[in-house]
C-alpha cells in the first residue's frame, strides 16, 4: 500500500511540477484520440501527436524562460 501511495505521490509531484507541460501532453493525446475516433487524422495521427507534443514542450520551455527572466530582473 505504501509503495502505491509513494508512487502516486511522486507521479502527482511530477505532474504538478509543470502543469502546462503535463496537461498539454495529455491534451495532445486526448486530441489525437478524438481525431482518430472521428476519422479526421488517419495515418497522419502519430506524426500529428509528435508535432503537438513538441509544440507543447516549446511552449513550456518558453514560459519557464520568461518566468526565469522576470525572477532575475526582480532581484
Amino acid at each position: 500500500m505504501d509503495v502505491i501511495r509513494a508512487f502516486l505521490a511522486e507521479l502527482w509531484k511530477m505532474f504538478a511540477a509543470d502543469l502546462l507541460l503535463s496537461l498539454g501532453a495529455l491534451a495532445c493525446l486526448g486530441g489525437v484520440a478524438l481525431g482518430l475516433h472521428a476519422h479526421w487524422l488517419g495515418a497522419a495521427a502519430p506524426i500529428v501527436l509528435a508535432a503537438a507534443v513538441l509544440i507543447v514542450l516549446a511552449a513550456a520551455v518558453a514560459r519557464s524562460t520568461v518566468v526565469e527572466i522576470r525572477k532575475r530582473s526582480d532581484r
Binding site: A6, F7, E10, L11, K13, M14, F15, A17, D18, L21, S22, A25, L26, L29, V32, A33, L36, L41, A43, A45, P46, I47, L49, A50, V53, L54, V56, L57, A58, A60, V61, S64, T65, E68, I69, R72, S73, R75
Partner: protein
Amino acid sequence: MTSLATALPIIAAAFLASAVEVIEAFTIVLAVSVVRGPRPAILGTAAALIVLVLAVAIVGPVLAGVPIRGLQMTIGVLLLLFGLGWLRKAVLRAGGALPLHDEAAAFAKESAALRARAGAAAADWSAGMTAFQAVLLEGVEVVFIVLAVGARPGLLAPAAIGAALACVMVLAAGLLARRPLARIPENTLKFIVGGLLSGFGVFWSAEGLGAPFPLGDLAIPALIAVFLAAGLIMAMAIRRRLARAPAWT
C-alpha cells in the same frame, strides 16, 4: 524431438525480434543507471522481472489476453510525462535560464542537505519506476514474441532460448557501454535521457492509441533525434533571448 534445422530459425527469429524489445528496455535502464546510479536501475529492473515471472507463472495460459494497447498507452503516457519534464529542465539548464548545477550549495547546510537527500530519494524512486515500466512493457512484448514464434508444438523452448540469448547479449553490450557513458556531463545526460524517454513515450502512446508510426520500431530513433534536435534549438533560442534580456547580477 525438434531437430536443429527446425530449431535454429526459431532461435534466430526469437533472438532478433526479442533483441529489438530488449534494446529498447535496456536503453532506458542504462540511461537511468548512468543518471541516477545503478541502484534504482537494478531495483526497477529486478522488480519488473519479478512481476513478469509471477505474471507468466500465474496467468501464463491467458497471457495472450492481456490488452497490450492499454499497457502501451499507460506506460507511454508515464514515460512521456517523465521525459518531457526532464527534457524541459535540461533545455533550460543548457540555455542558461537555470543554473547548471545548483545542488552543491544545498549540501552546505545540514537542513538543506536533508532536503537534498529527500529530493534524491524521490528522484531515485521515479528513476526506478521508469526502469520498472520499460522492462515490464518490453518484457511482456518479449513474452508475446516467444509465445508467437514458438506457437507450434516443441518450438517454445528454442524461442525462449533465442529470447534469453538476446537478453544476455544486450546486457553484456550495455555493461561495456556504461563506463564511457558515465563520463558525460550530468546535464548532457539528462538532456539525452529526456529525449530518449520523450521519443519512447510518443511512440508507445501512439501505438496504444492504435495509430502506429509508418516505420514501426525504426520510428523510435527518428523520434529521439527529433526531440534532441528540438531541444538543442530551444536551448540556442534561450541563450539568444537571455543575451537580449536586461542585465542582472
